[in-house]
Symmetry: C2
Subunit: 336 residues, 2 copies
């Protein structure tokens, strides 16, 4: 009773042609006569045939699938990017697989996905891929196609698509300065992260532009999580001499930060101006609505996929593509 799913041979039999012809009729309609094409199509209907992608992949040595590595699916920041990737991918007949890089503690499994021929390549939104992964092109194997998006890792010869983090940070600082702020602090992202560094660099550069000092004790350590924002707020409260404005490396920390200050009677923007980075969905609906740096997330996804495809097809892509960031002014900053 539980007989096997129909194979191409079943279709061939039903259409009175060879399996080869069925294959051609399906993949290269122009290669067969109109009559056989139709009879094959009818046979497909009758049998309920669906191509076995596994067999096809084995023979074609290609999966038409890419895997996207996301540092943390829970971070809502990434969903728009994924949407952009999917959009471009489906247009090219590609399927998108998503993997969260965090659960894979060993890390060994990551690139195996490509080595095992389950995906044609990777787009990584995570810049800190385990060492083992990148050099994983042993024994004359074609280097697996890898593209970085958002985050990246230098010195690997891997193409990347980025936001203008430095420029975005400068916009943030410029905005605060234009509001009359001169005492400005910064809450960092996780140590060793390229975004942390780039945003700090932008912060420092902008401060220098305005001939403002960067005070060590006003540079707080965070790690992009809500919780680290909370901790930073406590550190801020402990400061003997407090800055009047803070540039936070992302929105999520800003929520933790502002909420914790609120619990201690410090109100944003009344007592402190805050500008963050990312413009995730809730930013507009937080109380206060968050002034933050916006990035074209859908677009970076599209570009990242295009870059993958180009690379996979053997062409040489732009190695670093930078997309602009803009500042969205809302309620968490005010004139002083």
């Amino acid at each position: 009773m539980p007989n096997r799913p129909p194979t191409i041979r079943d279709v061939a039999r039903a259409a009175n042609v060879s399996a080869a012809t069925v294959s051609r009729a399906l993949s290269f309609p122009g290669k067969v006569s109109e009559a056989t094409r139709l009879s094959v199509l009818r046979a497909v209907q009758e049998t309920g045939y669906a191509v076995n992608q596994v067999a096809r992949s084995l023979r074609r040595r290609t999966t038409n699938t890419i895997d996207v590595l996301v540092p943390n699916i829970g971070n809502q920041f990434f969903s728009r990017i994924l949407a952009g990737i999917e959009w471009a991918a489906s247009r090219a007949g590609y399927t998108v697989l998503i993997s969260d890089t965090r659960p894979l503690t060993g890390g060994g499994m990551l690139m195996d996905f490509v080595r095992n021929n389950r995906a044609d390549g990777l787009i990584s939104l995570d810049g800190v891929l385990p060492r083992q992964i990148l050099p994983a092109a042993p024994a004359g194997r074609r280097t697996p196609t890898l593209v970085f998006a958002c985050e990246w890792q230098d010195g690997l010869g891997v193409p990347s698509v980025r936001f203008d983090n430095e420029g975005g940070a400068m916009l943030a600082v410029d905005h605060l300065v234009s509001l009359g702020h001169a005492r400005i602090g910064h809450l960092l992202g996780p140590a060793g992260n390229v975004l942390t560094d780039a945003r700090l660099a932008g912060f420092t550069a902008a401060m220098a532009n305005h001939a403002l000092p960067v005070r060590e004790d006003w540079i707080l350590q965070g790690d992009f999580t809500l919780d680290s924002g909370v901790k930073a707020a406590r550190a801020w409260l402990d400061l003997a001499d407090r800055p009047g404005a803070m540039f936070l490396a992302n929105d999520e920390m800003a929520f933790g930060f502002i909420s914790e200050l609120h619990r201690h009677g410090v109100e944003v923007p009344r007592d402190l101006s805050v500008v963050a980075f990312d413009d995730i969905d809730i930013a507009e609906r937080y109380i206060p609505a968050l002034t933050t740096v916006h990035q074209p997330r859908h677009e970076i996804g599209e570009v990242a996929f295009a870059t993958f495809l180009k690379t996979f097809n053997g062409e040489v892509p732009e190695m670093v593509r930078t997309l602009p960031a803009t500042l969205i002014v809302r309620e968490s900053t005010r004139q002083v």
Copy 2:
């Protein structure tokens, strides 16, 4: 130069054994002698061999992979569930693929994933799968293994794991009543959604328990999005006679709702008590911190995977498994 990746045959040659032995050494270490096992392992190292999963899947007719269908990856609510699934899956040697159901407008591609032998089964967090998908077990094919989690669809004979939505809604209402509220409204989820129905049912039942009237004009229509919360706030503001408390069908709408009211000078909880549903991460750090119904999301993921595995192995799973919901009281509700 760009010679092919090493195959099992290359390993066999290097180890001076047959391909069959290599296969056994790798998959059933007990089946070969200690000596050969070691020499095979060494050969694997030397050659840099990695199993070709595609070939393995073709032969084994199994992929050790499940696909999880998520209505909206952007909704942070799902990430914990995914984490739970991954946790259980990796323990069973399974790989988890994640697909967002929204981009697949045609819908046809969804189950093809399984029909095409790319995944052993599906866990759907989306209850409104396109019709074509479910009956997709034609021509004597073994019905693909499908499990619903969170959301579900009745009358399909598909096992599901759910939260106690009705019970959670009742907890919410009970809490409001215990605070002295009697004039209570409800913001619905999207029409036709099982969660919407279940939460409404719980709301209605609890109101009846307390002999409180359910007023039609206090039942607002939403769709689980931030934006629909905003719109609901406007509808609420237009009310001639306003309820003093609202039970909202999810957190995200609550943020839109509360923020929009705030912009119009109505403060929560000062002017209105709000309790929502989901307890996503920011709930605790919203201002005010949100009183909401919590669900064991990691656990539902684990249970869903266990259910899948059971079904896939031909056992008969519990058809409906319900996990308890609890109320987390925070700052968005107050005594009147």
